[in-house]
Symmetry: C2
Subunit: 287 residues, 2 copies
């Protein structure tokens, strides 16, 4: 049984990601927020942490890029979860009885068309998607329904009245798996390497930094810039590079030699890049 | 008198930015949120709009990058405002009388050390910094003080009990000035050109796109990636390039020829890049 830290309650999309990345049994360690999640893994309270890093509609979760840099953890894997919102009720409740619908404000906003099509329903903001299902089942929220994942319905015994009620079906969240130790040696299949670099603030520095990867035909799948506190309008860059780890290593060595004392290169991890899990069947385990 | 749209109330940091970018008298047009601001300018309800795009501590305001792409507006200028929070009270209130302090949650969070040093004070979340000062003066909020800009205190008749109470002094917000029409022809001093590009999803495409700028010694001052709805894990890139507009134009022509049918290049505007306004004296005008 592996202890896996998630931010939020059991039954959340983070929980679904934790199940998708582990074949063996896991014990979920719920954390209040992302800083607590990173702390928990760094201090050994969990072997791994599941971190949402990017949504296909709303973009990066920038706070977690900052957390990756603030802590010395390694990225050891990634997975994608389709955000497929369900209208969840207490068993026996029928659609015409649903008046007040609780969920996290982001989930409520992602179901705007559903609310427009059901004008008798009122959106009720809550602190968490899965938590609103749990509270609904425990009669601790003034609502008739909650919006969350199918997993939350299974976990807390809710009935799914409607599924896929999100406005945009191409709604995926990518999660990183972090650990105190790097992923074990075997690197088969397509690999992704994540790094964070700072560069000299001179013209052409980013172009030069990307050269070692471009010349080897390595695919840059993501670039993200984040501010450096205390140095207004200067940035660090997070890069995800796809390709053979040996080729990536050679590019990294070249990049490190080029940046020299004027910048820095830090490897965050090399791990197997997973394909999109679009309709994965989730098997709920005891947590 | 130029009509300038801002998001939020008169007296906000956006209002300070509007004053900083206009020498003549302005009439402020307060908007509920950023989409309303862009709509107001696009439909002619204001000649210009002031848009926060980036904070030196927290990073880009990504929603406004998306708004820039969604509307056909031009960027015609930029400015920076130092976020210098003040503790504002009704005239006569003394520091020991202050128990409840209202402001926007982000401003409250930026003054964490101040609250730690004054344990008798409680932070009270409100919808707006300047709005909390106005409500304080009108006795419409259950608080003894508000946190906002010096401008808000001047505008609503509050007294500043303490200034510069933010945790981090290097706290600047960069604002863009948007308009339906491009900035007039004269281009003297350092110029900034903003563009948004999409690229073929092949290895090396970003490196190749930056080449025309790097080869001319043009400085890339900012790169921001944003997701494309409906195409998971594909991005558009926003670039800010510093340098002579004629050189930048040549680089743009080369970039456009290179991307060909596989991508797109859209110019958002060429405008005078301003230096940092660190301690600008704000003169309040009637709005």
């Amino acid at each position: 049984v592996i202890a896996v830290a998630i931010a939020g309650e059991a039954g959340s999309y983070s929980h679904a990601a934790a199940l998708a990345t582990h074949r063996s049994d896991i014990r979920v360690v719920p954390c209040r927020d992302f800083p607590e999640l990173f702390e928990t893994v760094a201090l050994g309270g969990a072997e791994r942490g599941v971190v949402p890093i990017e949504n296909s509609l709303t973009g990066s979760i920038h706070e977690n890029y900052d957390q990756l840099r603030a802590h010395g953890l390694c990225i050891v894997g990634e997975t994608e979860v389709r955000v497929r919102h369900c209208l969840i009720v207490r068993p026996g409740t029928t659609l015409p009885q649903v008046r007040r619908v609780a969920s996290h404000p982001v989930a409520l906003a992602q179901c705007a068309q559903f609310f427009a099509a059901h004008p008798m329903m009122t959106a009720v903001p809550a602190y968490d998607t899965a938590g609103s299902v749990r509270d609904l089942m425990d009669d601790r929220v003034a609502a008739d329904a909650a919006i969350a994942s199918d997993l939350a319905a299974q976990l807390y015994g809710g009935s799914v009245l409607d599924a896929g009620i999100e406005d945009h079906p191409a709604n995926f969240t990518r999660f990183l798996l972090v650990s105190r130790h790097p992923a074990p040696g075997q690197r088969t299949g397509p690999c992704k390497t994540s790094l964070v670099i700072s560069l000299a603030n001179v013209p052409g520095s980013l172009h030069r930094a990307l050269g070692p990867f471009a010349r080897r035909g390595l695919d840059l799948s993501k670039i993200e810039s984040r501010p450096i506190a205390g140095r207004p309008w200067e940035y660090v860059f997070y890069l995800d590079v796809l390709g053979d780890p040996i080729e990536v290593g050679a590019a990294l060595a070249e990049l490190t030699a080029e940046t020299g004392g004027a910048g820095s290169v830090r490897l965050l991890g090399t791990y197997v890049a997973t394909g999109t899990i679009r309709e994965r069947q989730l098997v709920v385990k005891e947590s």
